[in-house]
Structure formats: C-alpha cells, structure tokens
Amino acid sequence: MGEERMPLITNKTNFAPGDVPTAAELNAPYDSLQSVGDDIDGTNTATGWITWRHTEAGLTGNAIANRLYQYNNDTTNETLYNNTSYVTISEGGNPAQLSLGFTSESGECVRFHASGMVGESTVTTDYDYAGLPGGNKGKPNYYAFRLLLNATVGGAPTTINLGEWGYSFTTKKSGNLTSITTPTLSGRIHWQPFAFSAVYSPNSSITFNSVELQCKVYDNTNSLSVERHQLYAVRAKR
C-alpha cells in the first residue's frame, strides 16, 4: 500500500425501516476494512493505545531501537605482538572477532567499542637517533590498535577501517640528542588499560559481517603484551 494509510471507514449504509439491504451494501464496510487493513495508523487508534509491555524487550534479539553485540575474552594470559603491520589479536586461539551478521537499512548507524589490558610489554628501544632531526625519533615508542570491519558491499566482501588509536611503551617523547644513539629507556608503562570507540554509518545498505580488534608496533624490537579484551557493537535501528 506504499505510503497510503488506513482511513476511517465510512463506506456504510444506514438502513431505514422498509429498506431491503443488498449484499453489496452489507459487505461494503467489511470490504473496505479488508482492503486497507494492513495500514492501520494513528487515525485508527485510541490515545494511549500502546504500553512498553507491547514492545519486545531486551537489548539482544530483535529489540526495538538498538541491538547489542558483544565479545569478551577474559584470559589473564599475556600474548606478545611485535608485528609492524596489523594482525588480529588472538588469545588462546580465540581471535578478537565480534560476529555481526546483519544487513543494515540504508544509513543505519552502528557504534563500536573496544577495551582491554596491556600487560608487561617487552621494550628495548623508545627513541630513534637516526630519525633526527624530527622524523621518526619518537616513533619506536609507539604501538597502535585498529578496529577493522568485515563487510559485504554491493555483493563483494571488503574491509573498512573504523579507526586507529595509539599508545606509548614508555613516558618518552622528544629530545635533541645528537651523539647518543641508544639513550636510556624512560619509565615503562605496564598494566595500562586501553579503550576507544567509533561510529560508522554507511550511505547505503551493506552487510556487517564482523569486526576485529588488531594491533601493531612501530619497532619490532618491542613486543606489545595484550591480555583480556572486549568488543561491543551497538546497532541503532530506530
């Protein structure tokens, strides 16, 4: 019926004494109702017609306004990563991957959260003398996380970068060293939680397959320690 809405049904006959109702006259109001019965709207309902008890409950399942997806890996074992390109975090053989598996309506909005704990990372360098001046001098101190969305767009599988966020192994940043290539390490930062969030809203309908939490380091002589971590996605539907 498209945008048509159910009107008030006025297709009826008031019978007077002596009238002989025809079948069409008797059937008219019911036929009208049948033809528009799928399009009941506010015209047809009383004030206060609905209560929250009428709506489906809960964040999971087929909830009304939002749907929550979550992944939790609560291991306290530390896994070290010294890759300089992103890899998906995996603890105990469980990749940090949150399954989504839905096709959005056009322009839907989904927000993503990730958090976790960095343990006792192995740090051998936090300063790059060779990078002077400017350049990469502070970069060996960095590690980063990425949220990567696996989606199907226009029938083709693809990945979408939802965001990247960085941290440092030690307190060090900058300096003006000119002759000491291996300065003393600054204070190591151990047992630091990480957390970030992002919002993604495609212009058109796409299939959200899964989202992965990934990490990398700038300098492979350093190893990032990751233990427990969580992923959340909240799909805003209405």
Binding site: L8, I9, K12, N14, F15, P21, P29, I40, T43, N44, T45, A46, G48, W49, I50, T51, R53, H54, E56, N62, A63, I64, A65, G107, R111, Y127, N136, G138, K139, N141, Y142, A144, F145, R146, E164, W165, G166, Y167, S168, T170, T171, K172, K173, S174, G175, N176, L177, I180, P183, T184, S186, F194, F196, S197, A198, V199, S201, A236, K237, R238
Partner: protein
C-alpha cells in the same frame, strides 16, 4: 425480523472500534517489533579535515565528528596531525579548546537536540611525553630525561559546561576515552573537547625544553536519546 436500527448499531459499533478506538487490548504484549516502527533517517554529512555525520532516527539521534591521522593521506597512526611546541606556541594554563587549533575549527559537534538525554564519548589520541636531552658532566656525556612531573588533562564540554574530565595523566602517548551523559531539552547543543597541561619551568642552562604536545586523532560521538 431484523430491526434496521439493530443492523445499523451493530455495524456502527464494529466500525467505531476501527475508526479510532483500537487500543492495547487489540495487541498482544511483546508483539511490536522494530520493523513495525517506520524507519526514518535524516542525515547530514560533513567532509573535509574534520568529517562527521548528523543522523536522526525515531528514538535517537547520532552526531559525530572526527579528525584522525589515520584518515589523512599524508599521515598515519604514527604521525601527529597537531604538533604544539609548548615553549613557543600559543596555549594557556587553563582549558585550551581544540577547535582553536589549525584544522580543528569544525571539530565541535553542533546540532539541535530533542528533549531527553545526551550520551556520548570523546576519544583523543594524544601525547605529552618527557624530553630526552644530552648532559655532559666531567667530560662524560649521557642522556637524561626531564618532565616526569608534567601532567595533562582532557575535558568534554556541553554548551560550555564541563561534563567529563580525564583527571591528570602523566607523560605518555595515550588514547583517552571520556564517556559522558547529561539531560537536555529541545535546544541547540555544542559539544567540544579541551585540554590542560602543566609543565615545570624549563632549564636555564641554554637547553630550552622541546616539550611537544601532540594530537594524533580526536573524535566525539553524541547519542541523543529522545524516546
């Protein structure tokens, strides 16, 4: 024999129910599903150095701004998009608005809210680390650091009211996540982030500190819950 008035009354009562008097008794509990509510989405996108989106759904709206080194062609997650020299650049000892700095003028999230709640989060990837310098004593050179007592803090402001703050963060590169919530009316809303840094006086020995304040990315999303 059927009286006409009875026939008319029966039809009238039947139709009257459909003509504006359907109520909760006509609907099983837990039966209204998401698809029963019309999907509407009013979107306004923003492009440029600061990208973002305003999108309004039936029960909520999302409002979002981001500037990130990872999404600008000449930089990556290791390269800052804002580099402040705290010795020579303009900043204050109070709250410094990120929007005042180059490339961030469009960063505040501005929209017309609907009465309800604002629930959101600011995420800033930034760094204020210690300096490393060369020290020579008795003809022996060694590296030393300074700035272990420096601290910085981030805050989220809604219409100039501080609604979330990180607390003082010691030197490091850190992605700071600041969740916040505050009631709102049907009104114009502006959400922005600001920072404070405290540094000790630099040495007077001819080695000015190179204290850099870096920002790699900043983003704010706000969810306006209105029903």
């Amino acid at each position: 024999m059927v009286k006409p008035s009875s026939l008319n009354d029966n039809i009238d009562k039947y139709l009257n129910e459909w003509n504006g008097h359907l109520n909760g008794n006509n609907l099983p509990v837990f039966s209204v599903q998401s698809d029963d509510i019309k999907y509407e989405n009013f979107r306004t996108g923003f492009s440029g150095a600061v990208s973002g989106l305003n999108t309004e759904l039936q029960t909520q709206g999302y409002y979002y701004k981001r500037r990130s080194s990872s999404f600008e062609g000449s930089t990556d997650v290791w390269t800052p998009i804002l580099n402040l020299n705290l010795q020579t650049d303009d900043w204050s000892k109070g709250w410094n608005r990120l929007e005042y700095y180059s490339g961030f003028s469009q960063f505040p999230v501005v929209f017309d809210s609907r009465e309800g709640m604002l629930v959101g989060c600011a995420t800033i990837d930034w760094q204020h680390g210690t300096d490393t310098m060369l020290v020579t004593e008795n003809e022996i050179s060694f590296s030393s650091t300074r700035g272990d007592d420096w601290v910085s803090e981030w805050g989220v402001f809604v219409n100039d009211v501080l609604v979330a703050r990180s607390g003082e963060i010691p030197p490091r590169r850190h992605t700071t996540s600041l969740p916040f919530s505050i009631p709102c009316g049907s009104q114009n809303v502006k959400v922005d982030v600001r920072w404070i840094s405290t540094i000790s006086d630099y040495l007077a020995s001819g080695r000015p500190h190179g204290s850099e304040f870096l920002v790699f990315s900043a983003e704010v999303w706000v969810r306006n819950v209105c029903r």
